[in-house]
Amino acid sequence: MNILISTCSQGLIYAILALGLFITFRILNFADMTAEGSLTLGGSVCAVLIIGGMNPILSILAAGLAGSLAGMVTGFFHTKLKIQAILSGILTMIALYSINIRIMGKANLSLLSKKTIFKLVGDTQISNFLVGLGICAVLLLIMDLFFKTRLGVSIRATGDNEQMMRAQGVNTDSKKILALMISNFMCAVSGALIAQSQGYSDVNMGTGTIVIALASVVIGEALIRKSSFIYQLIAVVVGSICYRFIIFLVLNLGMSPSDLKLFTAVVAAILLSLPTIKKIVTRSVKNAKN
């Protein structure tokens, strides 16, 4: 039971990262590699502020703001300097590696004896779960509402058909930058919560997290096939929790932890290629019939 709840809690915390990536990958159609850097940035900023005595909730917000700055830099690279989307993100991500070490002063910081948001509410399995659930629920509602506003709809339309948006008099550059800022805000918030949950912040904590988040998004999409926006968001959260259970399962079946990244990549690749595989299968079935 305990393991069940703690796996769920972990899934919820990583779901915030997955929701952030959902904004860039699915809504904006932008492969944003910044996420790995901004997740670690969130952890570093949050750790330093908590050690400095700041309220853990405020330090999560501050971490989020730092993340949105990282998103802004990527957006600037891409829209103003016309660097390819994927490269813009990689540039920021690499730069953040050094910046994160500068912020922390070393490669990792411990938060073990410090106040965290989880300790504020009692530090039990259930309360930790509720913290994750509460934050996820609030973010889901805000996102659902935001993407129905004029601003939100124009961000979605920019990802969907940029040329049309320019023909409709919309400054698509600013919409992209804003979406990247929101996305990386969430990645950093996720990083701050991960640091507080595991009790330390580490400069390598972001490595591979994009694939984890992407796997969550596609697992969720495979499980919940509804087109309404709120269901798409819920699917991401469900996908993130499922991913944690899958990982828990394969570890218990004896998989070496160092093989997890390979495993995650393979799962993500299979799920991402499902539409293509389906097409090939239906086509060959058709051909066989003929």
Partner: protein, 251 residues
């Protein structure tokens, strides 16, 4: 309404395949005019439209819309003055957004994209009446994703979006060329209805000579970046299209 002065544009400048599209093009279009533009491939029809819209910028020369110099105004700002329908029906709408969300974007062309809800009862009703005028039954499918519509239906929605807020100029770049004959007729009659009702100054590129002379009140033929023919009013009815063929084999 639209004034083009000494417009020059060269592609691949200083390279072997250098191509002078326009050399000192001058053109004035009056308010309320519906001008059809014809010309062979590579004559510069689409380039002209792209320069009016600001998708590409001229090397020299000036473009005025309503006596306002827009030559260096970025595309997204100029778009507030211009309505545009592309040849490809997929280009004018966002497929993963609903019909009403697409229309709301057109509706807010000149308003700030703030945190007010994009769809409310009032504009939803307005979209319904506007869609009903298209006569395609789309007024009952406000919440359907545009990606589910046919090419003709999408082009009709695009046309509606381009004119929902009355533009100073409507640019139609072979907007029926990719449609089946039935949809083509439908979109053309809609085009006529909307531009007549709202008295919109319009430029329409077409490859169909019959359309070119039956639509609007003025026809321009472009050849090697120059206006080789400029017919207004009555004279358009009497022209023998075969003359044009002799003149321009690639038409």
């Amino acid at each position: 309404m639209l004034r083009i002065e000494n417009l020059c544009k060269t592609f691949h400048k200083n390279q072997l395949d250098e191509k002078h599209i326009f050399q000192n093009l001058n053109l004035t279009i009056d308010k309320g005019d519906f001008v059809t533009i014809i010309g062979g491939n590579g004559a510069g029809k689409s380039t002209l439209m792209n320069m009016i819209a600001g998708s590409i910028f001229p090397d020299s020369g000036k473009i005025f819309i309503d006596d306002k110099n827009v030559t260096s105004m970025p595309e997204y700002k100029r778009a507030k003055l211009i309505g545009r329908v592309f040849q490809d029906p997929l280009k004018g709408t966002a497929p993963n957004l609903t019909i009403e969300e697409n229309l709301s974007i057109a509706m807010l062309k000149n308003s700030s994209k703030n945190l007010a809800l994009a769809i409310n009862k009032q504009n939803s009703e307005f979209f319904k009446t506007k869609l009903a005028e298209l006569n395609l039954g789309l007024e009952n499918r406000l919440k359907a994703k545009v990606g589910l519509l046919s090419g003709g239906q999408r082009q009709a929605v695009t046309l509606l979006m381009a004119t929902l807020i009355k533009p100073k100029i409507l640019l139609l770049d072979e907007h029926t060329a990719a449609l089946d004959p039935k949809s083509r007729d439908k979109i053309l009659s809609l085009t006529k209805k909307i531009t007549d009702d709202e008295d919109i100054t319009t430029l329409m590129i077409t490859h169909n000579l019959e359309d070119a002379f039956s639509f609007g009140n003025r026809t321009i033929m472009l050849k090697h970046g120059k206006i080789s023919l400029d017919l207004k009013g009555e004279s358009r009815q009497t022209i023998d299209p075969s003359v044009l063929f002799d003149d321009e084999l690639t038409l």
